[in-house]
Each structure stands twice: as C-alpha cells, then as structure tokens.
C-alpha cells in the first residue's frame, strides 16, 4: 500500500478551506498550520500565469526527516505515511532542518508536528483526509497508488503531473496536476 495525494492546480482557487479543516480536525494550535496555500505568479502583466497549490508534508518515500531523527520518533507508518511519535520526540529540530519543503514545525508542547494524511483519525476509518473531504472545488484526490483503480491512481494516469523539488531526491508522494 502506498498512500498519496494529488492536487489539481487548475481547479484549486486557494480558498484555504483545506487549511482550516485540517486545523479543526487535528486540533492544530493557533498560529500554526500543517497545510498551506502557495500562489505562484509567472511573467509580467499582461502575460501572467498563475498556479495555486494546496501544499503539505510530501510523505516522501526517501524521507530525510526519518533518516536524521536521532530517536526514531519520525517513522514510516501504514501506506508509507511519515509520522512523528510525540513521546519519542526530543524536539531537537533536526527533522525540521532536514525537510526541503519546511513542512514540519515545533509544536508548542515541545514535540515536532506535521501533516499525518489524517491516517489514524480518518483514513483508517475509511474516510478521506480532512482537507480532501472539505475541498469545495473537489480539486484534491487521495488514495492508494498500489491500487490501479483508486481515484489518485486514475487521475495520475489521465493527467500530467509534477512533484515538488524532485531533484532533492526525496521521492515525494504529493502530486500536483498541471
């Protein structure tokens, strides 16, 4: 099993519903976020191009954060999701420095926090991650890449896509449809 997420940059309007849904579902402390919106503007007026992306942890196949964690608190879980065990985390910050996407942050309680793909609280119960389920433009897809009929496999077969900084060698599992 290999969980992955795809975001359609042609459909995303950057409403930040995913951000708020995540904060509510996962009880993210005020002032922090596990997912966020990036707007990229290319060119000069009037030749402008806009790309909007809903971003989060890329749950990389080759995660530098898991590699550099001195205690094993950062680990691979079901479906290749990258999780942090708060009781094993010493808050040294190595994983935060190791993430090229800056997807991790220090939780005010001391341990490191990040996107979990809502693995334990939603996905294992058969639900979609909070961000995916609330998206008003239905631009987000989640599922198992090993299952050729999952909606994420289907959409990645049909559409052109990219990942972020593939040259960093992390093999990210968060895809962007372009």
């Amino acid at each position: 099993m290999r969980y992955a997420m795809a975001v359609d940059t042609k459909k995303c309007v950057g409403c930040s519903d995913c951000v708020v849904a995540c904060q509510t579902e996962n009880n993210v402390p005020i002032g922090y976020c596990r997912d966020w919106i990036v707007e990229v503007t290319d060119g000069t007026y009037p030749q402008l191009e806009l790309e909007i992306r809903s971003e989060r942890c890329n749950h990389c196949d080759n995660s530098p954060c898991v590699r550099c964690c001195p205690t094993g608190a950062s680990h691979y879980s079901k479906g290749g999701t990258v999780l942090v065990t708060p009781d094993e985390c010493i808050g040294c910050g190595a994983c935060i420095a190791s993430c090229p996407y800056d997807a991790r942050f220090p939780h005010p309680d001391g341990h490191v926090d990040k996107c979990t793909f809502c693995l334990h609280n939603r996905v294992e119960k058969g639900l979609k991650p909070a961000c995916v389920s609330v998206c008003p433009t239905k631009c987000m897809y989640f599922g198992d890449l090993d299952d050729p009929n999952s909606e994420v496999s289907v959409v990645l077969k049909k559409r052109k896509w990219k990942t972020l900084i593939p040259e960093a060698g992390t093999r990210p599992q968060h895809y962007f449809l372009i």
Partner: protein, 313 residues
C-alpha cells in the same frame, strides 16, 4: 519574473519566513565539542608517542578544561531541545543514519574518558592528592596500566567527535550551504586548530609553544585550502548551491565571514605564528586568542547562514 507567495498565512514559529530552529546553542556546542576534541586528540596522540613529559601542557594540563567545556556543551544541547523531559530517548536507541544519534553516543564515550584523564593527572595540579577510597586507587592503577589502550580509544573518538560537529550539518540535504562533505574535515581542522591554540595559550614552555604554533600554522593552511575548495564546489554546482555561496560572496554574511573568520581568525594568526617561528618577538597570546574567537564566530556564521539557504520551488 516569478513570484511565489504563501497566501494562507503560514507563519509557523521558527520556520517562517526563514528557518530559525537552531539558535546559539548548537553553534556554541559545535565550537566547544571541536575544541575538546582538539585538546583530547593532542593529549592522546602524545601519550601514544610517549612524549608526555616533553609536551606536558598538551598531555597533562590542557585536558583539565575539557570536562568543563564538554559539560557546558551538553547543557547547551539540552537547552536547545524543545521536548526536554524526553532527552533520554537519545540513549534508548542507536541510529547510524542520524549523525545526531551517533554524535550523542560519541559524547557519552568522550566525556567520561575526559574525566578519567583528569583524574589520572590530578597530581599535576594537587601534588598531595589522595583518593578518599581505596577503590579509586585500584581504578587509577587499572587505567594507568592500560593508558595506551585508553589513549587509542580517546584518539579515535576525539577524531569522530571533531568530524561529527561538521557532519551534523552536512547531512542536511535541505540546506544547500550545509550539504557539503567538506564541512566534516573543515570543522575537524578548525577544532584541532582551536585545541592547539588553547595549548599555546596555557603552555609555559617556549619549545612546546613553538611546536604547537607550527601545528596550528599547518592546520590553518588546511582550513584555508578547504574553504577555497568549498566555495569552488558550490560555484560549480547547482543554482541552489551557487545561491548558498552567494550568501558569503556579496550576501549578508560577506563581511562577518571574510573579515572575522578568514582574516582575523585565520590569516592574521597564521602570519603572527609564522613570524614567531622565524624568531621575531611577537606577543604569543594574540594568535591563539584570534584563532579561538575566529573558530567560535565560524560556527555561528555557518549555523545561521545555513538556515537561510534553501531549495527553490
């Protein structure tokens, strides 16, 4: 023109707008760790070579400061942790992929040996020293009998400690400035150089000072060589590495790095040591002081600049 904005207002503490997860603790610790590694390296080296009495300061006196600086370094590391009560988790596992893990274990080897080393030489400071319990006399006799083995262990682990201070940074592929394997030998050379500087600082023997001035001069040469190669490597690499190098080549760290680290911390002490070796009368405390301060500033600049360098996407 290309503009990239995070519009949902991501402002995660210590991560945005620029990563700043590591403050003064880590560079201070890296400096102290390198310094202790340098002093202990020379102490064990000259013990193995059988020159304890020739280089008395290096082998018997200077190591007395290492337990203190290692403990200050460990305290700095502890203060850096955000989840302090769980620090013991470091010592419930060994993860060779994580430099922080094997570095923590290296400290667990080097710190006790630095205490043993001081205990073995305690009579240099207090000639009438007597252990309060006969068990400690037995322990002393044991370590004195096995001093060569102890020296070899210390020699190897002090080198690991010195390299580790650089590898800790270079293992982070996400920060292009750190992601160069040259940082390992560069921090080791710098640690050995600051160690030699402390020995020059503390030594009362002119001959010992001259020997360590020569060693320090050689180490400074190696450091300058490695720094030049580091920048050549960056400039021949990808755009993110060129951007990382430009932090020092016209960017905000240009003056502090080239003035305080390279000129005042390396070139001027090298010139002073060279003149001293040539027989000129130079106040002998200036060069080691500059080397020590330069080494400290170097760790701070690399730690702070590295967190500003990043991948583009």
């Amino acid at each position: 023109m290309r503009e990239e904005l995070i519009v949902s207002g991501r402002m995660n503490h210590l991560v945005d707008p620029n990563l700043h997860i590591w403050h003064w603790h880590i560079p201070l610790y890296l400096f102290l760790g390198g310094l202790a590694a340098g002093i202990l390296f020379f102490a064990s080296l000259y013990t193995i070579l059988g020159k304890e009495n020739e280089y008395r300061t290096a082998v018997k006196i200077a190591p007395f400061i290492t337990p203190f600086i290692l403990i200050i370094g460990l305290i700095a590391l502890f203060l850096d942790l955000n989840h302090k009560l769980y620090f013991w988790r470091l010592y419930t596992t060994i993860r060779l992929e994580s430099p922080m893990s094997w570095g923590a274990w290296t400290l667990m080897v080097v710190t006790p040996i630095s205490f043993i080393w001081c205990a073995l030489n305690i009579r240099e400071l207090f000639p009438r020293w007597k252990w309060p319990h006969s068990l400690l006399d037995t322990a002393e006799a044991f370590f004195r009998k096995n001093i060569r083995t102890l020296s070899w262990i210390l020699l190897i682990f002090s080198l690991i400690l010195g390299v580790y201070t650089g590898i800790l940074f270079s293992a982070f592929n996400a920060r292009p400035l750190w992601n160069t394997s040259i940082l390992g030998p560069l921090f080791l050379a710098s640690g050995l150089s600051t160690g030699a500087a402390v020995i020059i600082f503390m030594s009362k023997s002119h001959r010992e000072r001259m020997v360590f001035a020569r060693i320090d001069l050689m180490l400074i040469g190696i450091e300058i060589f490695l720094i030049v190669h580091m920048f050549m490597g960056f400039l021949a690499s990808t755009q993110v590495h060129i951007d990382a190098a430009s932090l020092f080549l016209g960017g905000p760290y240009t003056t502090p790095f080239w003035l305080f680290v390279v000129t005042l911390g390396l070139i001027i002490p090298a010139v002073l040591e060279f003149l001293e070796l040539r027989g000129f009368r130079v106040p002998h405390l200036i060069a080691p002081t500059l080397v020590i301060i330069g080494g400290l500033i170097f760790r701070f600049i690399i730690a702070y600049a590295g967190q500003e360098s990043r991948w583009l996407y």
